[in-house]
Amino acid sequence: MSAVAASPAPDPPAAPRPRAVPHLLAGPATLLFAALVLTPLILTALLSLNEFEYATGRAHGFTLAHYAAVLGDPYYLEIFLRTFRVAALATGICVVIGVPEAYVLSRMRRPWRSVFLLVVLAPLLVSVVVRAFGWSMLLGPEGPVNDVLAVLGFGKKRMLYSEGTVVVALVHVMLPFMIIPVWTSLQKLDPAVEQAALSFGASRATAVLRVVAPQILPGILSGSLIVFGLSASAFAIPGLLGGRRLKMVATIVYDQYLSDLNWPLGAAVAVILLAANLIVMLTYHRVVEGHYRKRMG
């Protein structure tokens, strides 16, 4: 590389910029990304291809046996299906709750908007573990919810360690990640557009559905991608509220690494989760974004 190309000298604007400059500027971020994200990923992928011996615990050689074991075993398939079912449910509920909540938030007046935005964000300030324990106290056999049910004559219900509980707790944790992007895209909306819909005789619900919602689709899209991705790989919530019986992919990986000490198998499960997650999210992104791009350009 020549000295001229390397120095971002204040050239006259007409002169073509040395081609190396953008790459150099992107260098530090690339290095960081390679060191902190790519390297562990590659190591995990390599580990998943190693042979494993129970007696010595040593991992070496090359095999695809772990992938075959995971993909051919209905036990794992069920866990994968459950994980994606739970993540999809949590995402769906987050859309149903979060989008109207963001809309209401954006329509609030000045002091209240900041107050309620803070309320929405407040859960992020508390550790997920603490919140998971909170839910387990609330829904536990001696918890207040069961007390109320008992008083009302329904009898005690076993709520912990069920898919429903995991979904509820995930929604609680993930809601801000849905609200923030939707709120941001609502901020960019011209308020006159909604007024226009009203002035042409639309009811408020119609105005929101036909005019506002299509325009905040990108916000809903990015919100659901974040929520889905985080939910599908969530560990603390399923671990604490799903218990030993209700396994999800992230807890299985943990078990393989720390209980069975079968690192290659755990790595294989992790790689499959990553791949499956990517496929689901990219497909979703393509469908929604394509739909939006066709109209909004």
């Binding site: 007024q195 002035s199 042409f200 299509p214």
Partner: protein, 363 residues
């Protein structure tokens, strides 16, 4: 017979009266403009008619029906927003069709009316485009088509032309008036541009600080401004403070800096402080030594069809406009005489308010 009637309409924000004592009746088919500087309450008034801003006091009647508290979506008015507020995710045809859909107009009729409205604004070839694929002027016309296709009793235009460049704005003014004449819809337009208000309105409502100051035909507002504010806001003007020295039946003599000037006007008392108001195009520049006052050209500006001169003299600096008749213009420094006919002098009672800007500030 008034069609849209606002009676003593008021809007208060906290302790601030954005609009006060707004009383206006608009006849069926009339084109009325609300004209005023920004912050004068004209947009608030329009929003109250539209129903987007709650009325604090007073009533609004449309064709005999009280709509003061009616919801915006039950008023059935056609509105063109300043930002156009087109639905960006719908095609031009869908945008125009939206209001008809909400009114549950049958599909076949809807298509016909959309086509008709788009033809009216010369956009029939663009029905399948999205708003982002249109130019500013075309978007403006989509907004107009969308508003008139529902055949509203009243069309509300909020600064409809302010986002267009000068050339297009002028063309659209005439087109807007033309379309309004064709469909005959009663129209209320808000604008801060007096040329726009004058060229297309039947009547103009001049507003200042939340109040109506004058309602009249454009020509009368220009020629007979009732206040010093209007005479300054509407077009250019020379404001000359003076004192009545002698009065007779139908006329008087006013002393301007010691120079006696005859004016028309009844009931003027001697010693009364008045302001004379003379439009620059009504001053004639004559040969030196002639005319009412002497002067010297201090500056000149070429306006294309006219020359604008600043003339220094005993009355201060006067603005005078002469048509560009092809003759060479006067040079700065040239001595001239300034003349005018007593008929063109407008007289405002009471002296200039203390806050009246000087000539320098007005430019």
């Amino acid at each position: 017979m008034s069609f849209l009637e606002l009676r003593n309409v008021m809007k208060r924000y906290g302790s601030l009266d954005a609009v006060r004592d707004f009383t206006l009746s608009v006849k069926r088919g009339e084109f009325v403009s609300l004209l005023g500087p920004s912050g004068c309450g004209k947009t608030t008034t329009l929003q109250m008619i539209a129903g987007f801003v709650e009325v604090t006091a007073g009533t609004i009647q449309l064709d005999g029906r009280d709509i003061t508290r009616a919801k915006p979506n039950s008023r059935g008015l056609g509105i063109v927003f300043q930002s156009y507020a087109l639905f960006p995710h719908m095609t031009v045809a869908d945008n125009v069709s939206f209001g008809l859909e909400m009114r549950r107009v049958p599909k076949a009729e809807r298509a016909a009316r959309v086509e008709e409205a788009l033809a009216l604004v010369h956009l029939d070839k663009y029905a399948g485009r999205y708003p982002r694929e249109l130019s500013g002027g075309q978007r403006q016309r989509v907004a107009l088509a969308r508003a008139i296709v529902i055949r509203p009793p009243v069309l509300l235009l909020d600064e409809p032309l302010s986002n267009l460049d000068a050339k297009l704005r002028e063309a659209m003014q005439f087109e807007l008036r033309d379309i309004q004449r064709k469909v005959g819809t009663t129209t209320v337009m808000v604008t801060h541009d007096q040329a726009e208000a004058f060229s297309i309105s039947d009547r103009v409502v001049v507003m200042e600080a939340g109040r109506i100051t004058q309602i009249d035909q454009p020509y009368r507002i220009y020629e007979h401004p009732e206040t010093e504010f209007i005479s300054r806001f509407v077009g250019k003007t020379n404001l000359l403070p003076g004192t009545v020295t002698a009065s007779a039946d139908g006329g008087a003599t006013v002393s301007l800096a010691g120079i006696p000037v005859p004016v028309h006007g009844d009931g003027l008392g001697g010693g009364e402080a008045v302001v004379l108001c003379i439009r620059p195009e009504k001053l004639r520049l004559t040969a030196p030594g002639q005319g009412r006052v002497p002067g010297q050209v201090s500056d000149r500006f070429f306006l294309g069809s006219q020359w604008l001169y600043h003339v220094d003299g005993p009355l201060g600096t006067l603005m005078a406009v002469s048509p560009n008749d092809g003759e060479p213009p006067l040079e700065p420094g040239a001595p001239v005489g300034v003349d005018w006919s007593p008929r063109v002098v407008r007289l405002l009672r009471g002296g200039l308010p203390a806050s009246a800007p000087t000539l320098e500030e007005l430019e």
